[in-house]
Structure formats: C-alpha cells, structure tokens
Symmetry: D2
Subunit: 461 residues, 4 copies
C-alpha cells in the first residue's frame, strides 16, 4: 500500500473528533503557521454542532491576513464522508461523557484507590478502554473501507490500546500514536542543562534522547545535548531539587491540576538510574500505590488528583470560548503549540525527515516486549514511511514493571473485542493500583462496569 | 559434550548437600527399590558429620536383604572429590541456617507482610536467593571443572534461580530442576476423577497434563485420563468443594503446615479457567496479598503460614531420627517416595523414555517468556538428553502475573552476581507481596539483608 | 477447540483421496489389525469409481474372520459428506495425472536437470506444488466448514507446502503431516547396530533419535538404542560400506527404483557429521546437483531416477490388483505396514502416549527456522494434542542448505495463493537443481507451467 | 560503556592499516576539509614504512594553508600504541598479499568458476575470510584492552565477517562497518530522477532509501526524493537502458574494471521488483553463476572480472604516487571523497544527527535474519550511539537468496575461529558459485587453502 504522489498544497485531512475544543484548535493553529501545506480539513464529530462551530473557527482563522497556512474547514455528517479521499486522518475523541469519566476516576476512591488521571491504566483506564474499544473498531473498519492509504495519527487515550485496535482490525493501516509527555521531559532536561550545565536556550528538539517503554510509562536511557551527556547534569539537578521539587513557576502544582514538582520523576531516577519520561500524574498510576496511597501521599510528592468536577467546569469555559472564537470575539493566538502532528505530516509528504517518539506496534524496536504490542520509541519519519529506531531493552527490574501492563493491555483488548466480562475482571485485578482483594474487587468492577454500560453494546452485564 | 556409554551397574552419583535428612533419605529409598542400577553415592556436605551419618544409613540400607538396589555410600571431604567421575550430580542444600530463614519468613510480618513459605519469592525468597547465589556459583564452577559431562539434578529452592545460575556460570551444564508440586496436582486430579468421574485408582503418571509456567507458579491448560478430558470433571469438583475446601483427610490443614484445603487453587480455577499446579502455600506467594493479607485471611482460605519455629523443632526430631536410622534402631520404610530422580536417571541412561515436568532454560518451549529464563514444562527424557516439549503460551492475563516474576528473578540474579545492593532493592520493591512504600520497604530490606550478611561475601552492606 | 470425548469404538474417518490404491490399503490393513478401534471410513475421491472399489475392498476385509478391527467403508460423493462428523481426516491425493507428472519429472532433462522423484522440490516439485495449492485451499476450507475439530493427517507431497496451506487457510486446523522416510533411517540404524554393535533384532521404535529439518531433508543429531550411542557405530558402518553401498538385498537398487545403496546418505554423514534421514532419492534433490549431475553420476551413487513410465505401468498393475481385491481373487495380507496413522489416532484418543516425528508449523521446536514454517521434528501425541519436542538447531552449514528451501517454499506458497507467475518463476530460479541461467530457466518454466495449466484455475499464463 | 565528554578539537584517531594508499588518503582528505574537528591520527601498519610515508603525507596536508582541518599524523610501532587513548579507530587492512589474492580470485578459474572481485563471497571471499579472521581476533582483543570506549569503523572486506568478529571477541565493542556501494546506487537513482523525472542536481543524501540485506548484497524497497516516489521512475529508467546498459560516460566499463553498464542491477530489478544496491561486480558473486558463467557472459552483462595483475600494476602506481605526495611533487586534491567516516564521527561526537546505512549485528532491524548476524540497514548516528532503523523484511524469494549466505558466513566464522578445515570445506561447497561436485570441490579447496597457509597460524592443513 503506497501513497500516491501527494500534492502538499491540496491535502485532505479527516479529523475524527472534529468538535474537540483542545486538540482541534491546536491542529488549526499549527496548520495556520505552516506555509508549505494547504487543503481541506473535514471535521467529523458525534456532536455535529461542535464540529460546525469548529468549522467556523477554522475558516475564520484561515481568513486572517497574518495566517500563512490557508485551509478550508468543513463539518461533515459521517465518518465515510470525512474519510473519503483523506491523505491524513487525525483521531482525538472523548470516549463517553464526564458522567462515565467521573465513575472511572472517583468510584475506586471508596475502596481507597486514588488515581491522578484515570484515562490510561488503573481501574479507570481499564474501564475507559473497554468503552473505547467498540468505537475504535468502528473507526478502524471505516478507515479500511474509505481511506486505506491515509496516514492515521491517534491522540486518544488509552493510547496503546487505541493504536493497537487500529492494527488489529485493519492490519494494513498506516497509523501511529502521538503524545507530548516525552516532549515535556525534554523541556525538563533543558532546564537541567541550564541550571547544572550553564547552557541556556537549548531548544527541545536539540535534546537528543533514546526512548523506551509504553505510552505514559516511558523511559530514557540516553540523553544528550550536542557534545554533552545530560545524565550527570540531570543527576545533579535531581539531587538539588529532590526535596523541594522543581518548578519553573514556584507552587504552581498547588493551583494547576496538570502541574507537578516532578518529585515522582526524581524519585524514580534516584531509585532506577533511568529517566522516567512522562508527567508524574501518569507515571504514578503504573506503579503500586507508592505515590498514590492516599491524598496526603500525593501532596507530599507534589502532584494532584485531577477531579472530574474540574474537567466539567473547564469544559464549560471551553464551550464559552468556542463561541467567542466562532464569533470573532476572541482570536486563536498564533503560537506553536509544541505538538508534532504537522511536522509529521510534512515528513510523510517527503518535505524533510524527522525523528521523534511515537507509539507503534513492536516490530523489533523494543527487545523484551512481544512483537505486535504497541510501544513508544523514536521513529524515523520519511516520505510515506514511519520506521521505528531500534531502542534496545530496558533493564530487567524496569521490564518487570512494564511488561505486566503490556500483557494486561492485551487481556483488556481481548476482553473488549470479545465482550468477555470475566476476562475484563481478570485484567482489572492485575492492575497494580487495585489493592483490594478479589471479593471487594469484584464489587468495584461490577459497579464501574455498570456505570459505563451504555457504551458497551452487546455485552452481557 | 556427550556422555560416554555409561554402565547402569557402575554409576557414580555426587550428592551435594549429602547430609540432608529429607531429600537424601528419599533418594536412598528410591535407589534401594530399583534393581537395575548400582554404584556409589558420594555424600558431600558442609556439615561433614551429617554426611557421615547418612553414609552409615545408606550403607545399612544397602545391606538389608529386602533391598534390591545395592549402593555404596561414601561421605567425602570436598566438592571436587564428590564430583570427580560423577555420572549424576544431585544438589539439595539448605542455604544458610534457621536463623537466616527466620528473618526471611518472619521479619516482613512487622510490616504486615505474611509469607506461607518464604523460600521462592516474596521478600524472603529474594533474600534467600541472594544468599544462595554465591553458593551456586561455587557449585557450578566445580561441576565445570570436575564433572562437565554429568547430569545435574537440582532440588534446592529458589528453584528457578538456582537452575539459572548453573547455566549462567557453565553454559554447557546438563542440568534440570525437579519439584513435586505438579505431581501433587496430578494426585488431586485423580481425586476429581474418582469423585466426579467415577473412576478410581488412576495412577498419577496416567494423569496426562500440559504444564506451563515457572516453578511453584505453574499452570495446566490440558489434563486428561485415557479418553477422558479432566477439565469438566475438575470444574464439578471445584464447585462441589470450593466453600468447604477439599482434603482426603478432613481438617488436616489445621494440624499440618504443609496441608491445605486447596481453596486457593479452586479460587484461581474459578477466576482464570486454568488449573494452578502447585501447593496453595506456594501459589499464594506469587500474587498480590489476595490470600495472604493477614493470618485471618490465610485461615479463611484454609492453608497455613509455616513458622520457622516449627521447622526448628522438626529438624531436632530429624536429627534424633537420623541417629536411630544410623544405629539401626529404626529402619527406612521401603515405599516409593513419589520423587522422580531415579526414574529420570534411568531414562538418561537409555533404559526407557520418560515424559515429566522439569525446570529448564527456555529454548522455545514456553512462548512469551524470554529465551534463557528458567521455565517449568514437560520434557522428554531419553538417553543422554532432556528435551522440553513445546507447551504453548499462557493467556495474557496469566502472562501478566508470571512475567513480572521472570524479569524480577533476572534482576535478583544480576544483583546477586554483581553484589549490587541497589538493584536487589529494586527487585525487592517489585515483589507483589511487598505492599509497603519505598521508604518503609527500604528499612525492611536493609534489616533483612543485614540478617543474612554472613552469607553475602564481598557485598558492601 | 477441543475434541469432545470420543468413543474409540464409534469413530468416523474421512479419507480424502479414498480411491488411492496404496495409502488407502495401508490404512485399511492397519485398522484391520487394531482391535481397540471401530467405526466408519468415508472414502471420497474425484475418481468416484475407485472410491467405490475401495469401499468393497474395505468391507470385504472387515468381513474376514481373522480381522480384529471391524470398520464400515462407505464411498461418498462429496467432501462435505466425507467430512461431516469426522473425528479424523486422512488426506492422500495425487495432484493431477501422470501426464502432468511426466512434465514435472522429465521436462527439465532437456536442460540437463535430472530429478530422482520430482514431487517435493526441484523444478518438478515446485510445479507440482502450484498444482496442489488450489486443491488444498478447497480441502482446508471444507475442513473448516464441516470438521473443524477433527484431527487431520496429511500424506500428500509436497508435504511441507500441503501442511502449510491447511494452517494458512484455517489457522485453527489440527493437522500434521506424516512421512515414513525417517522410519527407514531408523531401520538402517538398526542394521548398523547389528553389523557394528552386534545387537540384532532391535525394533524400529527402540531406535531413539532427535529429528531436525524439513520433510525429505531431515537430519538426526542424536541416535541411541537403550544405553548405546549409535553415532560411533554408524560411523563404522558408513566407513565399511561407503564404497560398495549397503543393501540388505544386494543389487536391489538396480532393479527397484525406490531402493538405493545409501551412498548419498553415507557421503553426507562423512561430510557433515550428522545423519541425513530420508531416502537418497529425496536427499539428492535438495542439494546442488552433486549427486544428480547426470544419469552416470546417479548410477555411481547407486540410486535411480524414477521414470514416470514406470509409475504408469505400476498403476495399471495396481488397478488390476484392486479388481482382484474387490472380487476376493486376492486378499490383503495382514502385516503391519510400518505406517503410524493408526498409532497416532490411538494416542490422540487417549489410548497411550506416542512420540514420533511429524511435520508441523514451527512453534519453537526448531530454532533458526521462522515460526509458522512447516518443519519435521519429534512430537508428543497425547489425548487431543500434538506437541512438538524442542529439537534444537542445525549447525550453520546445514542451516544454509535447508533455510533457502524454507523461504523458497514460502515464496512458492504465496505464488500459488496469489496466482503470481513472476513470483513462481523467482522461486523456480532459486532452486539448487535449476542450474541454467535466467533465460533458459524462463523457457523451461513457461513450458512446465503450460503443461500443468489445466490445474491452475484463474492463472494468467 | 559510555564515551566521556569528548572535545572535538582534541581527538585521537587510531588508523589500523595506516599505510594504506587508498582509504588512508580518503580519510586524510575528508579530515582536511572539516574545520570543526582536530587532533591526532596514529597510523599503525605491519608495513611500518608505508605508515611513515603516510605520516609525511598527512602532516604535509595539514600544513597547507587551504586546509581548514588541522591534524597531526604519527606513525606508531604497535597496535597498543595506536589504540591507547583513541576516541575513534579506523580499520582498513589488506589481509595477506597479492600472492594470496591471486589464488583467491584466479585459482577457481581452472574449474570454470569466475569471480569478479573475490573478496566478499565465492570461493575467494571465503578463503580471504579465513585468512582475515586471526588478524581481526588480534585487533578485537587489542581494542578491548586499549580502547574499549572508542568507536570503531571497519572498512575491510569481507565486511560482514570482519564486523562480526569484533563483536564475537569483544561483545562490548562499539563498532560498525562502512561501505560505499549503497551510495553509488543513490547516485544511480539521482540519474534516473534526472533522466526520467526531469529533476537534475539532487544530491546523494537527498535520495531517501530503505536499505535491507547484507553487505554487497543489499536491497532497497523504498526510494524517494522529496515528494517523489523513485520506484516508477527507476522502472522507466531500467526499461530504457536495460539492453544497452547505462553509463554516465559511455563505454567506460570496457576500460575500467570497477565500472559497469548496471545491467545486472537492471536485470535483478526486472526479475525481483526491488532495487539491488551494490555494484554489479559484487551482486553477481552472491548468486548462482547467472552473470558469471564465463567471461563471455560477464561481457554480455557489461561488467568485468578484475584481474589481480591489474591490482598489482595499480599498486605500483600508488607507491610511486605516495612518494610524490610525500615529497610534495604532487598534492592531494581537496574534494569530498564521498565517504562518510568523518560525518559519522561528527554525529557520534554530538555535532548533529545522521542517518546512513551501516553494517551492524542484527538487534531487530532486519526481520527474518538471526539476531547477532551482521546486516546492512540504515542507522541513526547520534552522540555516542548508533541505532539501527527497523528496516522490515525482504520478501521470501530474496530471503532465500540471502539467508544461505548469512548462515554460511556463520559457518565460515566458526571454521576460522576453531581452525576447523572440514567445516570450512562445508561452507566452501555451500557457496552458489562453487558449481563443481564434492570431489573436484575438495581439490580446489585444498589448493586454495594451501596457497594461503602462511596466514592460517595453528591450522592443521
Ligand atoms: Mg498522552
Ligand atoms: Mg518445590
Ligand atoms: Mg514422504
Ligand atoms: Mg564495500
């Protein structure tokens, strides 16, 4: 399956989840800033109205004289319509509503199980995965039918399972999954370089790293800037800030649910010698409740449990903002978002190679993880190809932490595909955050599954 | 490396740990019952006196007129002496004393961590492994030097790590590890066959099984007797006895630390659909503290925490018994022990093929586990060869449970070989029974390591 | 997919190619000699009349008072009818007619390419494979539809490709491929044991071997009888008979196209140190034309090129014989045939384990060969399962000889499945017997393909 | 093993084979053109005098005012001296003399076996490998002892085996092998782009390719320039020039032993659909004698057999030239050589990432080839790391051609390391160019081995 020669000035992008008020605006912004590309973005969303608002926002943006990247935005009524003729497909959906998310994140608290995000792993991540699987089965089949040669970029969590389903349903899919957590770790390394190496201003892309692991539980075993090995500097940096935590803007973690003092990351470095490369909120969820034992422990480690109430309030604000953007009462700022989707598209078109970290089925890039499992490593993007870089292998003590999740994700995937409640429960009990026994675990699982039942078509609950 | 043609009537067996008061007598008994073999057993033990007593016991046994298998027993003073000229090497040692074992098993209780055995996994198993590693390095090097063509049978725990070291130090070693836990599961299946299938008297060897896993955490995905699939019968059996537990002799688990009501095994079958094939005391230790949460939970599941005090008392009785056996005041009974060492030796000599389960480095027999890791599956024993049978792969939800131990054993091994205290601690924290946080975990680890320091030559503690 | 409990006295066997005048009679004979089994054999053949004759022969045999194994034979009109309700499926078909076989075997002679059999490899084997593939696609789909739980025994050549297609089309198939070439090598080892070891009368089954390779190009790296290593004896035997060749009945190779002086096998042993375990006629075809350079060379090595004219004459005799058998003018002799189909069925029913060599997709039993490729090694037959024994790996110099065929068979398979003439030609040129250049090779290939065109539905030739 | 921070202006390069009159001058030239690097090059050669002459040539070059890259050249007397303190090691040696090379290349002609190069594969390549192995064992041990952290660039043929030995003897070595054959194929693709795509002046580095295979038998399955897929253009180009051959300078192949009309490459493309990416002289040697049947065939395919007499004459000219260069009678021209050694060094120092094709042990980059075998694919060069890019897998019909060489190289390596003449002969007979039978093959092998006996210390010949 090879891309025909594609004209970078007449592209077609299908955006699934096109009513999104975060990722969609980020993509619009990055496209607006890129003069070498042009074309149409078709916005598809089950919330048709939101897609329509984004159509207005996008076209208004293209109309601005300060915008070099001119695109036509068009809300469409079906997946098929969005995908037909697409060169690229972007997927960023919210599986379910805040009602289900509230159950994912907060229902386990009654059993003393705390989650900082609840969208990737842990009991909440697992239930979210089960809910997402049928949606991605539908999407994958539609891509196979309508856009088999398109490149597909996934942003939805749980990342590994979403990416895996696309390949499971349509083995020929040209898909990869993107996440910015590793980028943030590069920025932290740039801080360490400044603080402990005296070199300021290193751009993120110049922080060279080797990435190994699975999404949100990713590790670095090499990091450098130009001729400088960053590991000794990071070690100094960690020792300096371990107790206090490190923040560019002091105390922000107490105001911002997405910020942290990086203490989980620092502790993992001190204990394991490698750099954990995701936000502390994500890292903590993959481990036994070392950092998530209770809200006090979380506070000690200087990060937060993100309450769903906050997300609901935030969503209201975003809706209001979307109205302002659509009406012109507010303008999208033209700053690089730090996402890589547009850079990746350029590379895939042949406009310059790119090496960056992405989520892909293991084809040999990560030793010690079964072939086919979705892993996160660096990859080389070139015209119509994405080839992982051989990353090596994690040491056995970290493998032990990661590999249990790899197989548990596989169990979750199979449970979702075959609607097997017992198998889903086995996976649930395997999660390191599920510290209750089988009997209590069963009650919690049943309750959480019932709360998401609306999104489990065909299941016997 | 090929065995020269070996005369079954002039064999030489080196017994390392030859002062043993359990395994040594079992081997003596089985050799005594086997008319086709004869030769010398050299008993080596760091407790020279105990080896001497066993020499007397063994030779007295050979002198009995009712004994068909005539062997000469000889206590020797060095590993080299024992190994020179050996056709077979048997290793069953106790690494350390009851003092260290007491720490392994009971020190974690102060942190609310309970262990039923403490010799394979869990915090106790890990410390025991660290203590055992230098001993096995010495043994492996001696085998390489003095008996490179001999077949080596390991009985010492932790089984997987002991077997692994032999291959790590001497890749050409012809070693395998034996354990009777799976045999006991076959006997349980024979009970199910009788109770639910109406077929009594099936011998253990006729219960055909497929074995997958690692020692003491082994599973069966197929079991049959003649034309009968045993899974449906076992399912009935489990449902019948799940609540009450099953024992041939009712209530024995309350008197015998090694007995159980099989309720852990039954619960795992109900939850996973495969047959866990080890004693409940062993199985429970590989899992989160579902069954070992506290002594009350253990009691509910109808098994026991084996106190080291009991072992100490028992050892005193065995010493007294050894004196009686040496003096002739008591005789070893001539009943088959149910162990397979002698049957394996016969097969390796060419006296008839044998299929049985053993522990061997993975060479393809267990998919999903890294090559080289020691796994337990069936193997074909034939003249001068042991070839594993391809067992397939465990389902992902059980893989997730097992594979974390496989990598953690690897981490433990590397920690022991390189005397790396930090790496050992990482492995310690990875154990599912270690439910405390890193700070408390560190204190416990340091204390336990200090308690075994005498057996950690060259470590910086 | 598990066999339900099957009653050994009410079995149903589907015989595809049931008009066969060789393999069918062998199976009938072995079934007749086995008292523990009974049931129905459904004979399906595109030559309906031949199946009918075999029905008569089989039922006549069952009627004989000296026959303990009583079966009902029934010629049927369709694959579906044969397969419905089958516990076992036996496949032994002749793909095409002698007309196509004549082209396979003799057409290459015009280019100086000689083949001793032409049914497995070489230019003839490849064309035969292409012809067979669509037939096996049909058979595999019918098994999936009508007998998904049945055990399938394949006898048809090319063995590796036939077995592979069954798994390719129906991954859940329970199929294996059987060939008696290794058995004959065991008999030769028994001769060596007698001649050079002084032990007469060793039964074939007591010659224990380790089997590695692909069908008809199989090797032994271990062989023993009881306590005796057979390699030193075979070495003596080879040296004794290398020049003259070895035959139980002197000079038979000059009268019997299937006999040989074993000189190819002896030469391979002298050169490689391992025992090649197939007939010389088969072995020679997998190698460059070392032994097949021209008819004189073949004669020197004391084996024969089997002419298709001989097969035609022989077939006429067999037809006459079939009439005699059907009419009762002649009786099938009640001697064990040396085939293992019936023993395998018994083991699969649970009536006793069996270890024997079979052809199966590689699941780890043969290192160095890709997973999924069909390889020949020992396997353990037990109730409703066949599990390969881990055989190890061939040394690199033999791997080099074998692995090119493994990949070329894969190329041939893909060419057949996708009707890709160019790919088929690439595979053709890869064969070690095809010593002509690409231009002459193309002409030969086109001619041979045209000769078999009738059996290549949907190909563009 | 991590490089300490290395100062690009104070580097130390050990050049093994430092008397070389080709590769050494190329490196000198590229270093002279690179302003960002400086340091010392230590020249070690068993021809001490030649190293001394190169010292003079190098220092004279550094003294030229038009040279930005200033290096000190120093001939040294031992490997140890060269290696101590080295940041980089370059190896380009000539194993043996023209006397041995004459036997490698021309001795087989008596048996009708023609070789166009004879340094990589074929009978000549194999004997050369045997001769080279002990030299590389010595070099690898010296690197382990004196420069374990240095990066090692190998240029010597046979490339795969030389690189493999370095890792075999010193598993921690940081070595890779470089060859320019793929670069020449990129240049040919640039010609196709110009001729058939109308785009002139594309620099080699902008021709993006995916590289799969083993050195000198390498393939491309993807090639592009910016947004343009080069496969359709190359197809046109091949069809246009297949008959006549393609040369930038017409008829050059008749005057220049290293030139060709690319007809072998074109034929392989027409037959296999992938681009063979090495010179025709090299490609032809890996195949059956399709293109090397006899001198006439070679001529038809428009390439040459390189006679050793030519090399001898050429060497004389080079010696004369070296004198002129040392004396200043002639100056090295300051043109980029097209080699990548200096660019690779810069990338390894952290001065900018580089993706290029190199020879490395397979760690997952090439599916279908055993791990550890040396393969050629793209790799990412970054500060102190070289990571292969996952290249995928060759189609089975090309795998069949390549994999036999992979295993045969392994057999050759083991023969060389263990001085096993019989094993070497087995590998010899496995070569596709060895078209004679075993008896004639043995005579040729013995003769060729005797001719190189001086370089086989410790062999029993
Ligand atoms: Mg993310
Ligand atoms: Mg045990
Ligand atoms: Mg056969
Ligand atoms: Mg080269």
């Amino acid at each position: 399956m090879t891309m025909q020669q594609t004209d970078p000035r007449h592209l077609s992008i299908a955006y699934i989840g096109g009513g999104s008020r975060g990722w969609a605006w980020r993509l619009m912004t990055d496209l607006a800033l890129e003069a070498s590309l042009a074309g149409t973005v078709k916005l598809y969303d089950i919330d048709r109205e939101a897609a329509g608002v984004n159509e207005t926002i996008g076209n208004r943006l293209s109309g601005r004289p300060d915008v070099p990247g001119k695109w036509r935005y068009q809300a469409v009524n079906s997946l098929a319509e969005a995908l037909s003729g697409a060169d690229f497909v972007v997927i960023s959906i919210l599986p379910g509503t805040f009602r289900e998310m509230r159950s994912d994140v907060h229902a386990p608290e009654a059993c003393g199980i705390y989650q900082s995000v609840g969208d990737t792993t842990g009991p909440g991540g697992l239930i979210r995965a089960l809910r997402t699987i049928p949606m991605y089965v539908t999407i994958a089949a539609a891509i196979r039918a309508h856009a088999p040669d398109a490149w597909v970029i996934n942003y939805t969590n749980p990342m590994s399972i979403c990416t895996r389903i696309l390949y499971e349903i349509f083995p020929g899919v040209k898909a990869f999954g993107c996440c910015h957590e590793v980028f943030h770790t590069q920025l932290l390394l740039a801080q360490a370089l400044k603080e402990c190496g005296g070199v300021a201003g290193a751009p993120r892309e110049a922080i060279k790293i080797n990435v190994l692991g699975i999404n949100h539980f990713t590790w670095l075993d090499r990091a450098s800037y130009q001729t400088i090995d960053l590991f000794p500097l990071y070690r100094q940096f960690v020792e300096k800030y371990f107790e206090t935590g490190y923040e560019e803007e002091a105390g922000r973690w107490e105001r911002d649910f997405f910020a942290s003092g990086q203490r989980v990351k620092f502790d993992l470095f001190r204990r394991y010698g490698l750099i954990a490369a995701a936000g502390d909120r994500h890292l903590a969820e993959f481990l036994p409740p070392w950092y998530l034992k209770d809200p006090e422990t979380v506070r000690e480690w200087k990060f937060s449990l993100t309450p769903v109430d906050y997300r609901i309030d935030n969503a209201k604000e975003l809706i209001a903002k979307s109205r302002r953007l659509a009406s012109g009462a507010e303008e999208l700022p033209l700053d690089q978002t730090g996402e890589e989707g547009v850079r990746q598209m350029k590379a895939l078109l042949g406009l310059g190679d790119l090496i960056t970290n992405v989520n892909l089925p293991n084809r040999g890039q990560l030793s010690g993880v079964p072939l086919g499992a979705v892993v996160e490593t660096n990859a080389l993007f070139s015209r119509d190809r994405v080839q992982p870089v051989v990353a090596g292998q994690l040491p056995p003590e970290i493998q032990s932490l990661i590999i249990r999740h790899v197989y548990n994700q596989e169990a979750t995937l199979r449970a979702g595909l075959t609607r097997d409640k017992e198998l889903a429960f086995r996976a649930f009990m395997n999660d390191p955050l599920v510290t209750v026994g089988p009997a209590d675990g069963r009650k919690l699982f049943d309750r959480m599954l019932a709360n998401t039942a609306e999104y489990l078509p065909g299941w016997e609950l």
